[in-house]
């Protein structure tokens, strides 16, 4: 209704729009997850000794990856192949394409070493589970419906970008040795096993089979995320010094890249027929940078890369940017694109 009303009165719409952005940013800014991230960062600023025990941090990340995979698998098990195929293909292509754009940008404009450029490309080619979840929660709160199979796209976009970035590095460095080993170690790494394993378990168990474990893996998810973000806020604030070292380029890239990739994602999503909500999620996935799976993979494959640079960009710049500014913006973009007759026809 609202959408139709808007389409008829573009002028009214624009003012509504301006209002929306602020209102919606507020919605996102007052979510417990975002506030917990801020609390974590502040606690570093005031030199608090707050921190999750290491074993707990690892457990929470295991939980999140597995729960996301499981949800994706259940979503896939309930979706019709025809409906998923297009978006799935688009998601994989997006993930693979992002490093192709990110690598030369970082290398040429940022003048970073091959290894660092490829490392950053790998982080942005992959996705952030937490950013994805924030987008999903945001859309739920504002009442924007989304396709049920979106969690599956998240799982599909974890790996391709990492592999493409590693291949670029191998090619530019002229070393062919070790790529196979690196891909193997990445594919057998914790993140992929948990996400992929969860996906397959969800697919095989289906909605009914997963029923009894929903209280842990579905109902608690948002709460666990809050605790995880508390610790992420701490880590991000500790990375602040690295951001300064990385210089102005890193900051500029950490803000521009998600806007560009997010817009491309929203465009692609609309093109393959996703709803405005679904396109917002695909945009968010494209715009997000990994800080769980990618760092581990890159450590193995590109040890000469400085992990501080890519982690600082992904976690201390792009992640909070997406949380606070990005997601509402991608949503506006997706809505706008959706009204273009030649696109969403």
């Amino acid at each position: 209704m609202l959408a139709r009303a808007r389409r008829r009165h573009p002028i009214t719409f624009r003012s509504v729009h301006a209002l929306d952005i602020f209102d919606l940013a507020r919605v996102n800014l007052t979510s417990p997850a975002v506030l917990a991230f801020v609390l974590g960062a502040l606690s570093v600023a005031i030199r608090s000794d707050l921190r999750l025990p290491e074993a707990v941090y690892q457990f929470l990340s295991i939980y999140l990856l597995f729960a996301v995979g499981l949800k994706g698998g259940v979503a896939l098990s309930a979706a019709s192949p025809g409906e998923v195929l297009g978006p799935a293909f688009a998601a994989i292509m997006l993930s693979a394409a992002i490093p192709l754009a990110a690598y030369p940008t970082v290398r040429l404009l940022g003048r970073l070493r091959i290894q660092d450029a490829a490392s950053i490309a790998a982080h942005y080619g992959s996705v952030s589970v937490v950013t994805y979840t924030a987008a999903a929660a945001y859309l739920a709160r504002i009442g924007e419906p989304v396709e049920a199979f979106l969690p599956a796209l998240l799982a599909l976009m974890e790996m391709p970008g990492i592999i493409v970035a590693l291949v670029i590095a191998q090619w530019r460095l002229g070393t062919s040795s070790g790529l196979g080993e690196a891909v193997r170690e990445t594919m057998t790494g914790r993140s992929v096993v948990l996400l992929g394993g969860g996906l397959i378990i969800g697919l095989l168990a289906g909605t009914d089979g997963v029923g009894p474990v929903r209280p842990l893996f579905v109902d608690l998810f948002a709460g666990v995320l809050v605790l995880f973000l508390l610790d992420l806020g701490i880590s991000a604030a500790q990375r602040a010094r690295d951001v300064l070292r990385g210089g102005r380029f890193l900051v500029a890239f950490g803000i521009t890249a998600p806007l560009v990739f997010g817009t491309v994602g929203a465009f692609t999503g609309t093109l393959v027929g996703l709803s405005p909500g679904g396109a917002t999620v695909l945009a968010t996935l494209s715009a997000s940078a990994s800080y769980i799976a990618a760092p581990a993979a890159v450590r193995i494959a590109l040890p000469e890369a400085n992990p501080g640079l890519s982690l600082a960009a992904a976690l201390a710049i792009t992640f909070p940017f997406n949380l606070v500014v990005g997601i509402p913006v991608y949503h506006q973009v997706a809505q706008w694109l959706h009204r273009l007759p030649f696109l969403a026809g």
């Binding site: 921190r51 999750l52 290491e54 074993a55 941090y57 690892q58 610790d231 992420l232 701490i234 880590s235 991000a236 500790q238 990375r239 690295d242 800080y291 769980i292 760092p295 581990a296 450590r299 193995i300 040890p303 000469e304 992990p307 501080g308 982690l311 976690l315």
Partner: protein, 103 residues
């Protein structure tokens, strides 16, 4: 109790290296080691949480084997990884337990 001198090699390294370090120990014929989770700070910054944690691995073995492992670490990991390693002299009761098995 009669004890014999042996060498303790302690490695603190980013946890992503655990499997490789264990493989290196096995390749050197060393079957025994102990791992405790750790965090820390060093040239490569703070290590815990999202920055990745460390492990603290220790193995008692002969001086030669420990030296060999240190060489291995230098060749493969010192340049690019968060890692430190040190040797110390210890005395153990069951000498034969700590002899690397040559394969």
């Amino acid at each position: 109790m009669a004890t014999v001198p042996m060498t303790l090699l302690t490695i603190v390294a980013e946890e992503v290296l655990e499997q490789r370090l264990v493989r290196a120990l096995h390749d050197a014929g060393i079957a025994g080691y102990t791992v405790t989770p750790a965090r820390g700070e060093g040239a490569r910054g703070l290590r815990h949480g999202a920055n990745g944690a460390n492990i603290r691995l220790e193995t008692i073995t002969t001086t030669e084997a420990a030296d060999g492992l240190l060489d291995h670490l230098r060749a493969h990991y010192f340049a690019n990884y968060a890692i430190v390693a040190w040797l110390s002299d210890v005395r153990v009761a069951r000498e034969e337990k700590y002899q690397p098995e040559h394969r």
